[in-house]
């Protein structure tokens, strides 16, 4: 697989990003799939999805966050505190879930103890929890405010043409990643879930143009290839809390299964829902970023989410679904529980694990559970 993509997927910083910086480009960080990255693109800047990888502890995070809080935002703050986000020119804080939105305050306060970690541009971005005409109108307005703030801070102008161009570019990315999903669905798919996740992750740290180029090259290759060894291999779908590195997927695949699809943040959430051209780009953006109700922080849409998961399950003709949530993530945790119950009733094999955020967190325990689950579904498959 392409080295640049792999590096972008596994490292916080990557050569293309550094190059972009050297050429005087500006990088804006954001923590949540509800942020319309197109706006940043349109401003000629690089949208960078904040990640908690490469942390060894959450000591800095724990200084400001209380206990009982998801370790994902803590890991993000850890990286910020350690200066690993030094290349950021700005950050957009999102009222995503409560753990994530408190990153705003905690990061700012950490700035007093760790000078220089708070970029000048530090923007709080609101996201409604429901989809109605007036919430879309409000959100469109919130996006306009974001654009205005960027224009003011960086002395740029964002025209509707810029936006439409950025939207088209991101749509292209979405189309490409959907092709990847198609490839993963093939019984003799040449690509493992681990590789696929890497390809998807790379998107969050690369300039779109380059990314689209590299990705379509990869896809052309993959579409020609096939891997008979994967025929008949157990196939699982991964759902639940945010996942920004491949370790969990590779653990599952090391136990013999193939992860053929997901609905996690960073994963499928990042490329669903192409944006149709037309009317006011702010409104179309608002509609897209509210309407993709993947995340349980959009309350009252669990039916849609379950439908999405089962759709992935069937389309990928998978044998089971693995639900995972980060400890203290009630949003995904309780919905996982709900769905597990529902799917049990219709006989879809599921498993639920709770984990700490982070690379290879708690390998032993999780491997034991995954192995047990795969054993049970293998028995079923053979019986059938």
């Amino acid at each position: 697989m392409d080295a640049t993509l792999l590096e972008a997927a596994s490292q916080i910083e990557n050569p293309l990003l550094s190059e972009f910086k050297q050429k005087g480009g500006k990088v804006i960080g954001y923590p949540c799939s509800h942020v319309p990255e197109e706006v940043i693109e349109a401003a000629g800047m690089l949208p960078f999805r904040l990640r908690g990888i490469q942390t060894r502890s959450t000591s800095i995070g724990d200084t400001y966050f209380g206990p009982f809080v998801c370790s994902c935002p803590k890991a993000l703050l850890q990286n910020a505190g350690r200066g690993r986000f030094h290349f950021l020119n700005g950050v957009i804080m999102v009222q995503a879930c409560d753990s994530m939105r408190r990153l705003d305050e905690c990061w700012r306060k950490a700035g007093n103890d760790f000078p220089g970690i708070v970029p000048d541009f530090f923007h709080y971005f609101g996201v409604p929890h429901k989809v109605t005409d007036y919430s879309i109108a409000w959100f469109a307005d919130e996006i306009r405010k974001l654009a205005a703030a960027l224009e003011k801070q960086f002395q740029v102008t964002i025209t509707n043409e810029d936006l439409s161009r950025a939207i088209e570019e991101t749509n292209e990315t979405r189309r490409l990643l959907l092709r990847l999903e198609e490839i993963r669905r093939r019984p003799d798919t040449p690509v493992t879930g681990t590789e696929a996740m890497s390809l998807i992750l790379a998107k969050t740290a690369l300039p779109k143009k380059e990314y689209n180029k590299l990705l379509s090259k990869e896809l052309k290759k993959l579409e020609k290839k096939s891997n008979p060894k994967n025929v008949g291999r157990l196939r699982v779908v991964l759902a639940g809390s945010v996942l920004d590195d491949v370790s969990l997927i590779s653990l599952i695949e090391a136990e013999g299964a193939l992860v053929v699809a997901d609905t996690v943040c960073f994963g499928a959430r990042a490329y669903r829902g192409e944006i149709p051209p037309g009317e006011d780009p702010y409104v179309t953006l608002a509609r897209r970023y509210l309407n993709e109700q993947f995340c349980p922080r959009m309350f009252g849409y669990s039916k849609q989410r379950l439908a999405l998961i089962t759709d992935r399950f069937e389309a990928g003709n998978a044998d089971g679904i693995i639900f995972q949530n980060i400890r203290f993530c009630d949003l995904h945790g309780s919905e996982n529980g709900l769905f597990e119950g529902r799917l049990d009733k219709v006989g879809t094999p599921t498993m639920r694990i709770e984990r700490e955020y982070g690379t290879m967190a708690d390998e032993g325990r999780i491997r034991m559970r995954v192995a047990a689950f795969l054993e049970t579904i293998k028995k079923r498959k053979n019986a059938a």
Binding site: D344, M351, E354, R365, M368, R369, A372, E375, T376, K379
Partner: protein, 258 residues
């Protein structure tokens, strides 16, 4: 034909030597950091009890942490598979198995043929583990074997913080300081444990017979409290020490593989 199984558990390691349906010898020792070494030690003990030596054994089954590191083992299976198999041997018509070990607590639902249809393990705070009981027993100054008996003698069990082992221990200390009796505290501890296990058990929608394996099955206090919470009786293996379930399963699977 003679088969042996060993289960290198997180806390203890167990070995059994089986001839058909008879246990010739068995052993339970504390796990050491070197699984290979531990496995040998416990297996040698079991063989010694059976008056046999390695060469008399047709096949060795192994399971547990570091199972693939054990040289002499020639049939490796996952803990779940072994515990389920062992439980079925101990309690032939078991449909639900609750296994409480040192480091986790598992609940499994089995189909007629003994294959696992649903499996859950405790992911939350460590209150639902045997370790929890050990830490508490230590705080109370009673041997782990005695902890279970306390429940029977308790007058009014205390309600204990059931979320965290170590904080529950802090609570135990302050209760002791507040002059609560060892019995009432012991009962409180067993109940807290039972509460956690009950929710886990209920989440797999248990069918009869429900049987319990793992070391904690030897804790009467927990078992009784659990029965009260679940509202039906739990079968405790008589055929052999419930702590051996994993090892027995390993031996049987080895035998069946041949």
């Amino acid at each position: 034909m003679i088969f042996a199984g060993c289960d290198v558990g997180s806390l203890t390691s167990k070995a059994v030597v089986l001839s058909g349906n008879r246990i010739l010898g068995s052993a339970v020792i504390r796990s050491r950091t070197m699984p290979e070494e531990t496995a040998r030690k416990v297996m040698d003990e079991a063989l010694a009890k059976a008056g046999l030596s390695m060469k008399d054994v047709k096949g060795f089954g192994g399971t547990g942490y570091g199972r693939d590191k054990i040289g002499f083992v020639n049939h490796v299976n996952s803990e779940i598979a072994c515990h389920a198999r062992g439980a079925r041997w101990l309690v032939p018509n078991a449909r639900t198995v609750i296994d409480i070990g040192g480091q986790d607590c598992k609940a499994m639902r089995l189909a007629e043929d003994g294959s696992i249809t649903k499996f859950l393990a405790n992911d939350k705070c460590a209150a639902g583990t045997g370790r929890f009981l050990e830490v508490m027993a230590k705080a109370l100054g009673v041997p782990i074997e005695e902890l279970g008996k306390l429940s029977a003698r308790a007058k009014k069990p205390v309600c204990l913080a059931s979320t965290c082992t170590v904080w529950a221990q802090a609570d135990v200390v302050s209760y002791l300081n507040a002059g609560e009796t060892i019995e009432d505290l012991g009962a409180g501890i067993n109940n807290a444990m039972a509460n956690r296990v009950a929710t886990l058990a209920n989440s797999v929608k248990p069918d009869r017979d429900v049987c319990m394996t793992g070391g904690v099955a030897k804790n009467q206090g927990v078992v009784r409290a659990l029965e009260k919470l679940l509202g039906y009786s739990i079968v405790i293996p008589r055929k052999a020490d419930p702590q051996l379930a994993g090892a027995i399963g390993a031996a049987l699977l080895a035998a069946e593989a041949v």
